[in-house]
Amino acid sequence: MSKWLLRFTALGYLTALLLVPVGFVFYRAFSDGFMHAWDAVSSGRAVHALELTLLLTAITVPVNTIVGIILALALVRGRFPGRGLLNAVVDLPLALSPVVVGLALYLLYGRGGWLGGLAEHGIRVLFAVPGMVLATMFVSLPFVVREVVPVLREIGTDQEQAAETLGAAPFQVFRRITLPAIRWAVAYGVVLTTARCIGEFGAVSIVSGRIEGKTETLPIYVQSQYAFDFNTSGAYAASVVLALIAITTVVLLRVFQPKEH
């Protein structure tokens, strides 16, 4: 009896909060016909927004993957003062509001900011792609680190030491021993990073200036379609594109999931 009650509670909550809303957006996007939805996502403005989103992702993911692996190695293998602080800083983007991240960059690179002078030398950071890249890097920093750290802890250093004893160079050890051991964790982290980059809204909203057709990403496009242009079906159609990416992400997460022993 209680088993059924628990099952009903858990699944009912998930259905009402998650499944029905997401399913309904698919329904609404196509309720005016497939062509209408297609028109909404194939307009020049929507395509540009999608391209910009993919560009930000393409820059951020490789950087945060490499930096993430280095940071994970430093956190697990390194012995240096301030390691606890480093740990906290790496986690910070997970707990911090994206709006705060956006504002911090806005104040740093904006008028009167410490690096506000860059704009006078022709380097535009704010309301341009560089600022949006920085915002995306900030919010998606922790994912690779957080996935790789526990695996590095678990595998220990025995094999690495053995390889070193046999005369392997440090980079060889990393490429032949460490990297194969952490590759699934890296893949998992990369998928999470990608999802975060594509979906980022709050921080990019502030630093991009939301210039239509210029610094508008797909999530920003969704919001302006809905809130300012009152083109709800356009917003739903673009949402479906993002939701499909999210569903692909969830499937990939299953594939790369650490196997239970």
Binding site: L6, A88, V89, A95, V99, M137, L218, P219, S239, L242
Partner: protein, 249 residues
């Protein structure tokens, strides 16, 4: 390290600097604007309620996923990650489509605190589930069987044996959900309607201040949010260290 300084630390330093550029009095008067205080109170209240609801439903969902067997369990398990993968603005829009004006069930919670809470619950769903699930998988069922053979009822077994073992995981999941709910922006910006003193949360307030070119006011409230985030992280870290010291498993 250089990367971290440029990408994370330097902007935050600039934020703290800007918040007190007009002196401490100015900082204080900006942080204690009635609208800012109302937003902060609402944010903390909603995040607390959201964390509590997550503690209950998150644990229940984790339990059902680990201990129950039913067709489609793998699918449900995968779906839990969806809020992490779905852009937050889409999350807000999906809820608004279903539970907003003109929704199919005639339920309209748009521009209310309940609607805002829905959005927060959506985006924070995975935290407690994913924290509790691995612990529940590892948990030895022998103790529960022993208690059952000694005549304990199932609720007593849960309360006396399972729950104490899960509590640390529940708490760390709840803390992360709380921190996330405090800072959430994308999911609430559409559904809350951003009515000052009513449904406007701190992140939205900060955004509005930036839009109206009040950088100092935005920075003051941001610093408060930054401090809350840090406190939550330090709290989780300290709790973990305390556990490893007092745990001999």
């Amino acid at each position: 390290m250089g990367y971290l300084s440029i990408v994370v630390l330097l902007p935050l330093a600039a934020l703290v600097w800007a918040s007190r550029a007009g002196g401490l009095d100015e900082f204080w008067s900006q942080a204690t604007q009635p609208e800012a205080i109302a937003a902060l109170k609402l944010t903390l209240g909603l995040a607390a309620v959201c964390a509590l609801i997550n503690a209950f439903f998150g644990t229940t969902i984790a339990w059902v996923l680990v201990r129950d067997r039913f067709p489609g369990r793998g699918f449900v398990d995968a779906v839990i990650d969806l809020p992490f993968a779905l852009p937050t603005i889409v999350a807000g829009l999906t809820l608004l489509a279903l539970y907003g004006p003109g929704g199919p069930f005639g339920i309209d919670v748009a521009f209310t605190r309940i609607g805002t809470l829905f959005a927060l619950l959506f985006v924070t769903l995975p935290f407690v589930v994913r924290a509790v699930q691995p612990v529940l998988l590892e948990l030895d069922q022998e103790m529960e069987e022993a208690a059952a053979s000694l005549g304990a009822r199932s609720f007593a077994i849960f309360r006396r044996i399972v729950f104490p073992n899960l509590l640390p995981a529940i708490l760390s999941g709840v803390a992360l959900a709380f921190a996330r709910a405090i800072g959430e922006f994308g999911a609430v910006v559409l559904i809350s309607g951003n009515l000052p003193f009513k449904t406007e949360v701190s992140s939205v307030y900060i955004f509005q201040q930036v839009e109206s070119d009040n950088g100092t006011g935005a920075a003051a409230v941001s610093v408060l949010l930054l401090l809350i985030s840090l406190a939550v992280l330090v709290g989780i870290g300290a709790f973990r260290r305390w556990r490893t010291r007092h745990d001999h498993v």
